[in-house]
Symmetry: C2
Subunit: 127 residues, 2 copies
């Protein structure tokens, strides 16, 4: 059985102190290089992600771990993980079931900002 | 002349309090959907980005604004900006001069994490 504490140690990550939590940033994209979402991860959610092979994040607002799709079913299976140069962010390539955004779009980044700062949703609304 | 305070207000962003700075997250990718880097932005760096059309970020370690490429020349011209659903992150599509990572790679995310957590650089090293 994998010792995930060791695995995480080898990843040499730089957890940042935010509101008394030690967090790294997770950016999640799919196989087609669409950036789906971004959220924080604490060590526990990273460990659960590695153990289960499905994305877990940390909610700073609810102050708890959450498994992506635990209610919606829109789970994210981890395919690859990339580390950035200073170790404070990880880029996860996932297989997305359904769609990533609770607003019903594949990506959370479904608003295009216009010159005046106003924004407009684009893309398919699944839900 | 554009009133960038108005523009930023229209973007309806949710700046997060981190170490007494109000920050949003910037994820930067190129036209080929390669995620180049991620860094924080404060309101001043966002304003400078909008004013100049070139990426500026906020360094939490140096506690100051920085223009990407100010020393290396590896500047990033903004092509498009996308907002995420809750307004605490922006995805910038840029035209990258040179490469984004100071380690000499196009992307900062040039380490692939292996099963044991160790990581290995991949891709072209330009520098």
């Amino acid at each position: 059985m994998e010792n995930y504490n060791e695995v995480i140690k080898n990843m040499n990550l730089k957890f940042r102190n935010i509101d008394n939590n030690k967090l790294i940033l997770a950016i999640t994209k799919n196989k087609d290089n669409l950036v789906l979402m971004t959220a924080f991860m604490n060590e526990e959610s990273l460990k659960k992600t590695l153990e289960t092979g499905y994305m877990h994040y940390y909610s700073t607002s609810r102050k708890k771990l959450w498994r992506k799709g635990e209610e919606s079913g829109n789970i994210q299976k981890v395919l690859n993980i990339y580390r950035d140069c200073d170790g404070d962010a990880l880029l996860f390539e996932v297989e997305q079931t359904g769609w990533a955004c609770h607003e019903g779009y594949m990506s959370c980044f479904h608003y295009e900002i216009k010159k005046d700062g106003n924004y407009k949703a684009f893309g398919t609304k699944f839900d």
